[in-house]
Every structure is written in structure tokens, then in C-alpha cells.
Amino acid sequence: MPKLEDLCHQIRSKNAGPFWITIDLFFKDRETFDRYSGAKELQPAQLGPLFGVQIDQVGCYLVPDLSVLKISYPRRDPQGGVVERDLHGGQQYIRIVDLELS
């Protein structure tokens, strides 16, 4: 099964306000987007445990015109506190790049 990283030309993550992280998956082309953006590995049920958050707090948004899947989830701790390791959330996407999609 192909890895997510090999199906996208760009994957990025960023803070969306102090309480949320958002990940944008830019699939290589529309065909790849249509084939894989609905993969079960990219559903809240699979992503929630990966990010350590409740499944019903994970939002997935399809943006077909851009061949993008956007994934948003709450931070476990608000931005910038004692346990902060990634203030802007810019490295959080690494957790999912090796996912193998069916």
C-alpha cells in the first residue's frame, strides 16, 4: 500500500488559533485525491488516537478543487504552556506521513 507521503506533493501543519492544529494534505493530482482522500486510514476514527484526541473532535474537510484534504484537531494543551514542544504546530504532520493508505 502506498505511503501518504508518496501520494502528496505537500503536507503541512500549522496552528489554527491557540487551541487547534490543522493539517493540509495536497494530493499529487485530482486522480490521486479521488482515489485516496476517503481512505479509512484518514478518517477520524484512525486519526484521533494518533493525535491523542477524541475521535469526535477530529474534523476532515475535502477541498476537491485543490485536491486537498484538511484535517483539524484540538491541541492537547493550549499553545505555549509549560509542556510546549512545537509552538506553531509546524511539525505535527510528521506523525501521519508514513501512514499506508488502502
Binding site: 500549522k14 496552528n15 489554527a16 488559533g17 491557540p18 487551541f19 487547534w20 490543522t22 493540509d24 484526541v53 473532535q57 474534523g59 474537510y61 477541498v63 478543487d65 485543490l66 486537498v68 484538511k70 483539524s72 484540538p74 493550549p78 499553545q79 505555549g80 504552556g81 509549560v82 509542556v83 514542544r85 512545537d86 509552538l87 506553531h88 511539525q91 510528521i94 506523525r95
Partner: protein
């Protein structure tokens, strides 16, 4: 003006005041027919410190340099200048700081513009009373809260909409300096005031909020938005830059949890049905933007001061350690915690020690998946958090010999790792925390907002 030809043009010189405005971009935007210059100067993006302390992220010199270009251009063109979220957090202290810079520039340029200053910082106790009246609600992911949460904040700001800016312009303001405001409201104010379509005005403002980030060369200057009744057009200020349907529509993804809906004071922008059309190779027209009016609310941001931190950094190339990093880190954490408890007792208070091996798993904090080769070296960051700087430093000094010399196993001799500094510990200062993720219900966009106008008689030497 024929309504089909209505076009309210806003020059957005840069994504944030202080990043480095290019004067030729501004001149070009004015030549293209700008009716106003609008720019944002703040964000929560860089963390809670700026709101908790009321200190700007960008330096005074950087703000002054950018503001001077904009104030000169504004005066020459005879159009208004709007700056939102002054001084990063948009709190009163940061807004006054920005206003002082503007006054200094005006004096240097020999100008006496009418400057409106619009405050939106809130007294914590006032917000407690709003909460007790049920006029404040949490935003997701928060579900519940206690009203005394607000009194735990050092500073609270409410995000303004465009109405106060419009009111100041109608009073004849040449320059409007705003406290905390949604990025979009600052840019949408003049189009809304002059009768542009509400949906296009908000959508154009959202697209232009980060300057050229909606263009192919995101770090090159700003953009001009032309807002009509049913559509808007966006083009970059710099001739070498381009906006394409892809770069423009992709901006709705940026720092947004939902790419189709954007909640603003007094309504929600819905771009689900928007279409992005290339006019030429560097200009895009957008149609189908919709703004749905809702009861007026303002988002609240609040930050508080937390503990104090003292840090140490050590470099490790010891191969035994590098082959067993997780075991080593766990052992060191246990040793250091016990050491502080024994040496300092209750004087250490409620302390926290964090060990972060850079080059291994410092960013994620998650177990490293096997098999993976040992790194060549790691940088091990030690962070002590305590109730005062003095105690945090005492904890670091107590830990120093063990942080420096702890072997992987007790039976081994005494290694010495690589400190880069003397003294090894650095007092990092205070930790700040965001406390609020709430909205407050207000009767209109003015209820929690205060106005002031610069009185040039107080600056007699001007």
C-alpha cells in the same frame, strides 16, 4: 458610479506591520487606485507572551520603518490608513506604544493627521460579570468553564469587527489605530463602508490578510483587492508576482480549521460556493462569496503569567548513551527529581523538570519507532519550571552536576558531557499561557470598545 462598476480598492502592503514594507509596492498600489491602505499588526500566532506582557513581537524600529512609509504614502495620496491589532496582541499597552510611534513619525514628517485610537482590552472583572450573566460561551474544543477563569487572566482583549473603524472614518479620521481586531475586519471596513458587497468584502479581506501569501511568491510584498457588489479581484502589488486561482483559493486553508466557514463578529463568511477565475496570468476574480448575518459576538483572547523557567543545554556524543537514549533520559529524570526533592525539600515548591533530547524525540515527545540507527549526537535540553525564577535557577544549579556527569549505568565511570556555556544555566523567564477560547454576546460592535483621538495640542512642538 454605476453599480456594476463599483470597485472599492484596498492596498494591503504586507501581511503584518513590521515585517518590512517595500515603498515601491505601496506607490504602485496607490497608482492602481487604492481608496485606503489597510494592514494588520497582530496575531496570537506566536504564542501567549505578547498578550500577557503587552510587548510587541516586532521591534520598535521595524514598526516605525513600516509605519513611516505608510504614513507618508497616506498623506501624499490623501487616503485613510487603517492598522488593526496594534503591537501584536492589540492590548491597550501595545496600542498606546504604536500610537506613540505614529505621533513621533507625524512630527518628523511635519504632518498632523487625525488619528483615531480604538481600544478593545477588557477588565477581567467585567468579563466575570458578563460570564455570570450568561453572555459568554466557550468555543470548541472547550465545553465548560467557570466565570473566575477570567480573573485568572493578566490581560483580555475582545476581537473587534469593522464597525468601530467605519465610525472613526466617518468622524474624519485619517489614520485608525485599532486594538485587537479580526484580521479580516480591518481590511473589510472601507469596502463595507462604501457599499461593496458584504460577502465579497469579507472574502477579499480574508484572502488579503497575509499580504502576498495568496500569491505565487508569498514573501514578496502585498496585494490590492478591488471589491465590487458581487465579486472581488485580487492582484499582487509587485509586477513580478502573480495571483492564480490556486494560490488564492488555497489561502482559505491557511491557519483555518475549516476551509469554507469563517466566523466573524456579527456573522459567518461562507465560501463553499465561491469560484476563483483567472482574469490574466496574475489577477484573479472571485464570485459566489456569501456572508450570513448572525447575532453580534466578539471572540475573547486572554493570557496569564505562569511559572518561571531556567534551562540548561548539554551536547552528548557518548555512544553508550546514544544507543540507549530512552533508558538514559528516564533514569536521568528520576535521578534529578529525587535530587531536587532531597536537596531542596519543600523549598522547591511545585516544580517540573522536562528533559528533551534534540536529535532524538524532543519535538514529538513520542517513543522512537525501532529499528532506528543511533544518532551521532544529541542536544539535551533541561527545563526547570518553578514558582519563581530564583527557585527555578536553584533547581538547575542543584541538577547541574548530575545533568553533566550522569552515566548510563551506575557501574560506569564519570562521563562529562559537552556544555556550550558558562555558566551552564540560563534564566529563560516566565511561562505564559492562553486561558480563553470564548465568545461574548454584545448588542453591537461598540459595546466593549473605547475611542480616543490624538490631540495635537498636547504635542505642541509638532
Amino acid at each position: 458610479m454605476n453599480s456594476n462598476q463599483l470597485s472599492i480598492n484596498i492596498l494591503v502592503p504586507i501581511g503584518a506591520l513590521g515585517l518590512g514594507v517595500d515603498e515601491s509596492d505601496v506607490i504602485r498600489g496607490i497608482q492602481l487606485g487604492a481608496h485606503a491602505i489597510a494592514c494588520d499588526a497582530g496575531s496570537t500566532d506566536s504564542g501567549p507572551a505578547y498578550l500577557a506582557t503587552g510587548v510587541s513581537k516586532y521591534s520598535r524600529a521595524a514598526i516605525k520603518a513600516d509605519l513611516k512609509i505608510l504614513m507618508r504614502a497616506r498623506n501624499d495620496a490623501g487616503i485613510p490608513l487603517l492598522i488593526g491589532s496594534c503591537g501584536t496582541s492589540g492590548c491597550d499597552k501595545s496600542l498606546d506604544w504604536t500610537c506613540e510611534i505614529a505621533i513621533e513619525i507625524a512630527i518628523e514628517l511635519g504632518q498632523q493627521p487625525k488619528i483615531a485610537v480604538i481600544y478593545s482590552e477588557q477588565e477581567p472583572q467585567l468579563m466575570v460579570s458578563y460570564a455570570e450573566k450568561g453572555r459568554i460561551g466557550p468555543l470548541p474544543p472547550n465545553e465548560t468553564f467557570e466565570p473566575d477563569l477570567f480573573s485568572a487572566c493578566d490581560r483580555i482583549v475582545a476581537l473587534m469587527g469593522p464597525e468601530p473603524y467605519i465610525a472613526a472614518l466617518k468622524e474624519g479620521a485619517d489614520i485608525v489605530l485599532g486594538g485587537r481586531t479580526t484580521d479580516t475586519a480591518v481590511l473589510a471596513a472601507v469596502p463595507l463602508m462604501l457599499g461593496a458587497g458584504v460577502g465579497p468584502a469579507w472574502h477579499a479581506a480574508k484572502i488579503a490578510e497575509c499580504g502576498a501569501l495568496c500569491a505565487t511568491r508569498p514573501r514578496e510584498g502585498g496585494v490590492l483587492i478591488r471589491v465590487g457588489l458581487n465579486s472581488f479581484v485580487v492582484e499582487p502589488l509587485r509586477p513580478t508576482n502573480s495571483c492564480t486561482p490556486n494560490t488564492v483559493s488555497a489561502h482559505m486553508l491557511y491557519e483555518n480549521s475549516n476551509p469554507f466557514l469563517l466566523y466573524e463578529p456579527g456573522g459567518v463568511l461562507d465560501v463553499t460556493n465561491a469560484k476563483y477565475l483567472a482574469i490574466d496570468e496574475r489577477t484573479v476574480r472571485v464570485i459566489g462569496s456569501c456572508f450570513k448575518v448572525m447575532p453580534y459576538t466578539m471572540k475573547l483572547e486572554g493570557a496569564a503569567r505562569g511559572g518561571w523557567q531556567t534551562i540548561m543545554l548539554v551536547g552528548i556524543q557518548d555512544r553508550k548513551v546514544l544507543a540507549n537514549i530512552d533508558i538514559f533520559i528516564n533514569r536521568m529524570h528520576a535521578v534529578l527529581t529525587a535530587l531536587v526533592q532531597k536537596a531542596m525539600g519543600s523549598a522547591a515548591g511545585n516544580f517540573h523538570i522536562s528533559l528533551r533530547p534534540y536529535g532524538w524525540n524532543a519535538i514529538s515527545g513520542l517513543s522512537v519507532k525501532e529499528p532506528v540507527a543511533a544518532p551521532q549526537e544529541i542536544g539535551l535540553l533541561f527545563i526547570a519550571t518553578a514558582q519563581t525564577q530564583e527557585v527555578a535557577t536553584q533547581i538547575a544549579k542543584t541538577c547541574n552536576p548530575w545533568f553533566f556527569h550522569l552515566p548510563l549505568e551506575e557501574s560506569q565511570g564519570l562521563p562529562s558531557y559537552g556544555f556550550p556555556f558558562s555558566p551552564a544555566e540560563l534564566e529563560r523567564g516566565q511561562v505564559f499561557e492562553f486561558k480563553l477560547n470564548h465568545i461574548v454576546q454584545v448588542k453591537d460592535g461598540f459595546e466593549l470598545v473605547r475611542f480616543k483621538y490624538v490631540n495635537w495640542k498636547e504635542h505642541a512642538h509638532a
